[in-house]
Amino acid sequence: MIEIDFLEELDRFSFMIRKRVSSVYSGARRSIRQGRGIDIYDFGEYFPGDDLKAVDWKLYSRTERLYIRRFEEEKSLTTHILVDASRSMDFGKKFDYAAMLAAGFAYLVTKENEKFALATYSEDLRDVMQPRKGKTHFLNAVELLKGKKLEGKTRVNFCAERYGGMIRSRSLVVLISDFLENLASVQQGIYKLARRNELIAIQIFDAGEKNLDWLSGDAKVYDMESSEMMRTYISPKLKAEHEERFAEHIQGIKKACSEVGADFFSIATSTPIFDAFLEFSTVLG
């Protein structure tokens, strides 16, 4: 169940990324390029030929010298939000949580009047919403996430390749998944998405799938994605080792992200959604 009450709290966030992006469109993205814009970057001495509109007359009155205001050229940024909708996301509230994060990002982007695109994937790309601006687009996105049926296996690598081909210009890609598949495939997917884009990879996990605390003794354990069954004895030792393997997997993803300059967050579903965005704020605006 996706709740959108938290969106109001997100009003406090200004969705900006202090990273160099390139776009032909003006927008709310801060650029170190000088040009037309709103925010004054610095002042420069007037030389004949400079735009007279740029002369700061207030400053002239105080200093009797002509200075012109130099503006930071503002660029627009398209955000692509990819949400894992495979069968494994049906564990606990993983998908709901992922959907809320996606909605949060879409909200922040919409609030800045930027374009965002949304796509869900499992074994292949499933629903792809083209980059657009506006509240209607946002509401459509929320609606899409709400009614999403979770099925299939996770194939990050394959889907990243497919989706990467659809990104026209340098963009921000937010990849939200549980990343529960072969580490090599996850790494390859990350490498592909981070090429020419800013990437934020967010892993969603349920504490129960990590430490298996809710399990013990003889059990027939089924894989949610493949339906493969394994009969085993869930001992504390196995649980501890399972958690260890899980942590190693996360470390592997983290390493891949750091190799390509992407940001990685591993968020438990028990984390309040606002706290999660607080955490993202280290890389946002």
Partner: protein, 604 residues
Amino acid sequence: MFGNPVALFGLAALLPIVILYLVKPKPKDVFIPSLMFIREVEKRESVLSSLLKRFVRDPLLLIQLAVIFFAALAMAEPFYISRESVKAENIALVIDASASMQATDVAPSRFAKAVELAKSAFSERDRISIILAANIPIAVLKEGTGSEAKAILSALKPKATPANLNDAILLAREMLSGENKRILVFSDFSNADASLAGKIAGAEGIALDFFRVGGGGKNIGIVDMKQLKDGYSILVKSYVDKDEMLGIEILRNGVLVSSEERGIAALSSELLTLRNVSGTSAVRLRYADDFPLDNQVFIAAPLPERHKVLMVSANRTSYLKHALSSLKQVELAEAVPPIVPAFSSYAAVILDRVSRQSLLPGMVRELSLYVENGGNLIVIASEHLKALEEVHHLLPVEIRNDTAASGVKIETSNEVTRDIDFEGVAVKYLLAGAKNSSITLASAADGSPLISFWYKGGGKVAYVGIRHEAGWSDFYLKTSFPIFWSKLLEFMVGGEEDENLKTGNFLPLQTETRVKTPSTTVVTDRLFLDEAGVYEFGGKKIAANLLDERESNISTRAVEGMQYKRSFERTSVEIRREFRDYLLFAALAFVIGELMLLNRRGEL
């Protein structure tokens, strides 16, 4: 068996556990996002534990069942009754190693059977002595352990000699010490009566058991061999109760030279005669029986070659000369003194009638040297002999002046005088006295030696006081005359060693000598002929053969009055052996195993 069978009801506790196991909830079906990590964890487990896991779904159940099973069984105090000897014994094993033990009427042989039986006759706790009973007993182990005894028994081999069980048992009696003494005799008792030694041992409180191996089998074998003048007579005896055909083969230096078939009647003997035998020969019976050892006889000594004999005499002709010329083994040369050839090339020199004048000092010196170096000298009495003082020191008699007449009395019956008929022989003889260390074979009525010899230096000197001339005696007219001379010459020049011996004899050698036996090579100064075959040493060959009618008779029945056993029984008692402790240890081991498993699962 159980000391406390009630405790077996404890096994009923297994039932509820099994039931609990059966009725316990089925494993839960749980869904997790990915089996990836569990699979990785299980992949790192050892091959053994993953294999175990594949077959044993719940090892804890099995462990718990085992704990209850062993604990309940331990409480039931299980035991078994074993028959064991009361305590360790001092055992002497007497193994008959006589030739008849090589008989193969029991497979693989009587001896192997005896050894096999002996090996089962003791335990590791006993102190074992082993005596090999050949014609002399040989102690091969004194108070060794069971394993030592087994090793030695495995290495023993039978001999080709008769056995003396009595001596072996008496030796065993001496070797045993301490308490619980026991002598076990393993033999075919084919010709050995050990009852006397048995009685002695029994009187001293030593338990004595006889184990009989074999006791049947058919055999035809060579049981005797005699040397003839020009060959050998060989006695073949059949112990088979029906007529049989034999193949008789003669081999010379290992090569078959003749072969013939001959029938032999049931339970009878056949005499074979071999002539013109020379070199190392063997006679072989081709007949499949249970005792191959006596199917062959080896002959090492070739017949004596012709001996070169020099007769030194002033007489050109004499009866003696004719007699000697007629002997096949004599190659007679004559010399009339003072012209004589070198003595050293002659096997014997006969000094007949030599006058004082013709006896040159050089000849006397030569003669002394000849005797000193191993020559054989025969001096015949004559009227000149008294005067020949230079040669008196060589004679075994002291010659006196006078002569007398008498009959001939045999003093010593040996191979020279045996079967020689001196009856009615009258002689004129030189009065003489026997010197110390001389041996008088025949003498006159007054005791004067008529035939006498002694060893002088390395040689032998004989004095013959019966002169072969009319007026001296009429012995030369007797048919015994040439026989006597033949025997005397054979005695003088023939070797003292018999080259065809029977097994079981000791052959003293002068020094440590390297001897090639039929099976190996030994260095010894005392050769024990314990194998049948040819022995070689110092360029000489000696043959040893069993030639023992009693050993060949492998089918003899048991000696009456002796109690035989077929299997080993020893004084034993029933001992209750409990193994409760082992079961408790097993239960404890499973408890520890359970704890380890729980710890491994992290449930402790």
